[in-house]
């Protein structure tokens, strides 16, 4: 990983264990308070308890709520006795993944986006000129351009707090330690153990560790998530890819097209004056 300064610091990231999330949104509030982000809308969505909707330039933590309860009469004996038969309410605090291969960083033409000494991806707000390229590039739909000041914004993993040896505001605020912060290596180990334990306990039908695989399309994520259902249920892409992976092939195709342009112009211009 090509980082700013000598990469002596270990790579930092998040492990979000959704089995511990109580959907309190302290993470959303702590993030906005620390980063002085504005509220961005007072609209009732009717989408369970999620009125935030998505990550964007002014929302860098977003708690997703997915209700998966079955209907049925109240004296259905299986209803409400044991999970998961009766159903459940999934909650997950979403955040920038700080990918190993980060599309936003790769496509940024000004170098505003850079990789810090902690291995995180950060926007330098005083460099970004709001070209907007990073926005469609991110395979998770995280980074966005702000109307308020015109440039891009996303989670910095509280870069300023890390420099002072503090943990990010969201991890600090989370009351149940659903959001765990630390060295990515350590988090990976912890997450693997947790998944193994949950699978052995058999309480959940579906347990997956999203972002763990270093061979995935973004080279593994700096922020991993223990999910209880498929990623798309939470609004996450099932198989995200940093488009830069195919950049070579794209330029090759462009090269052929360039040749075609020159060749065609040559051919068509034969004949000169009428």
């Amino acid at each position: 990983m090509d980082t700013y300064q000598d990469p002596a610091a270990a790579r930092k990231g998040f492990f979000t264990d959704t089995t511990l999330c109580i959907g309190c949104k302290a993470c959303e509030v702590a993030c906005k308070e620390w980063n002085q982000l504005p509220a961005d809308g007072y609209e009732y969505t009717g989408q369970s308890y999620d009125n935030t909707g998505e990550l964007n330039g002014t929302t860098w933590r977003h708690v997703a709520f997915v209700e998966q309860l079955r209907g049925g009469a109240s004296n259905d004996p299986h209803d409400g006795v044991l999970r998961p038969e009766s159903g459940r309410w999934l909650m997950e605090s979403d955040v920038c993944k700080h990918c190993t291969h980060a599309a936003c960083l790769d496509v940024c033409p000004t170098g505003a986006l850079f990789r810090t000494e902690f291995g995180t991806v950060v926007v330098q707000e005083d460099v970004c000129n709001g070209c907007g390229y990073c926005v469609p590039a991110c395979p998770f739909g995280v980074i966005d351009k702000r109307d308020t000041d015109g440039h891009a914004g996303k989670c910095t993993l509280c870069y300023d707090r890390l420099k002072d040896g503090e943990k990010p505001a969201c991890a600090k605020a989370c009351p149940t330690e659903s959001i765990q912060f630390g060295d990515v290596d350590d988090l990976r180990r912890r997450a693997d153990e947790r998944v193994a334990k949950l699978k052995a306990d058999g309480m959940y039908q579906h347990v997956e560790l999203y972002g763990r695989d270093e061979n995935d399309g973004v080279g593994g994520m700096g922020a991993m998530f223990l999910l209880l259902d498929k990623p798309e249920v939470y609004g996450l892409p099932p198989d995200p890819v940093d488009a830069t992976r195919e950049l070579g092939a794209m330029w090759r195709a462009a090269g052929y097209a360039m040749a075609a342009l020159v060749g065609a112009t040559l051919l068509l211009s034969a004949g000169g004056r009428a």
Binding site: N56, P109, C131, P136, D149, L261, A264, L268, G272
Partner: protein, 298 residues
């Protein structure tokens, strides 16, 4: 039917304003015009060559204005040249556009000042950069998570080249005297048919599912307009292209077609990013296939 989170998008659609598709066409046309300019100059067709040079110059001067207007922080436009970043098609494009603009402007000034050899040399430089200008924007949009762009990364450069060729040809037809404009007319006709063909090819390669954004919704009408106008332009040329009036009418059609096509591509991109199914379904399929392949292997 794939699962989604309340039908919300997974990736974000582009946030560019109409300046950008307009720029795509202007830059592409300028690039192709520069190629034509150099070839005509070499053949001695100075009239057409100079027209194409002026087309390229007009494009090179307009393009940065459009791009700067689209920026969220326009006053920081210079940051585009803060670094040279090969992994970013936009970085490469910014440098190419700058160099192209410098070369074309330099050529023009040199010409006016009478420094002909310098002018010719700079024209060659511009012509070398021209094809990059015409195709890098295709790489730029393909290098994102927008499904309908990324999946068409093999075909988009050809679509853009066809449009550029047609555009340069149309401009030459419009602004050059009829006598010297024949190569331009041919470029226009060929480009118009090529545009229709390459977009058709792109759609086919995308497949019925992924090509939906071009067939339904806002992009469909834009694309339909582009198709119609490009074919109309081509047919007009085949039928009565020798008449200057007809040729010029056809040129206008072809220019409109090129512009509409760029808008169609951007619009389709937005639609495909806005509906989660275009992101989720192919990825779910891929993930499942990989999982079962792994299972078989182990």
């Amino acid at each position: 039917m794939s699962a989604s989170y309340y039908g919300r998008p997974v990736v974000k659609p582009h946030v560019w304003k109409p300046y950008i598709p307009l720029y795509f066409w202007i830059g592409g046309t300028a690039g192709a015009a520069a190629v034509s300019m150099a070839l005509e100059r070499a053949k001695g067709n100075d009239e057409l060559a100079t027209v194409q040079r002026n087309v390229a110059l007009a494009g090179a001067l307009t393009a940065p204005v459009l791009l700067i207007l689209d920026l969220g922080v326009p006053l920081r436009f210079y940051a585009m040249l803060r670094v040279f970043k090969p992994s970013s098609p936009m970085s490469i494009g910014s440098w190419v556009l700058t160099a192209f603009g410098g070369a074309i402007a330099g050529a023009t000034v040199s010409d006016v000042l009478g420094a002909k050899p310098l002018a010719r040399a700079l024209e060659v430089v511009a012509a070398a950069l021209g094809p990059v200008l015409a195709t890098y924007t295709a790489v730029l949009i393909a290098d994102t998570a927008t499904p309908v762009w990324r999946e068409a990364r093999g075909e988009l450069p050809f679509v853009f080249v066809a449009s550029s060729l047609a555009g340069a040809g149309a401009c030459g037809t419009l602004f050059a005297p009829a006598a010297s404009a024949r190569p331009a007319r041919r470029m226009m006709t060929a480009g118009a048919f090529a545009l229709a063909a390459t977009t058709r090819l792109m759609e086919k390669r995308l497949g019925r599912f992924m090509a939906e954004p071009y067939r339904k919704g806002p992009a469909a009408s834009l694309k339909g307009g582009a198709d119609f106008l490009s074919i109309a332009g081509g047919v007009l040329m085949r039928a009565g292209g020798k008449k200057t009036v007809v040729a010029r009418v056809a040129a206008v059609c072809v220019i409109a077609a090129g512009v509409l096509e760029r808008f169609a591509v951007l619009s389709a991109g937005k639609v495909s990013a806005g509906d989660p199914k275009y992101t989720v379904e192919p990825q779910r399929k891929r993930a499942d296939e990989r999982a079962s392949a792994d299972a078989v292997r182990n």
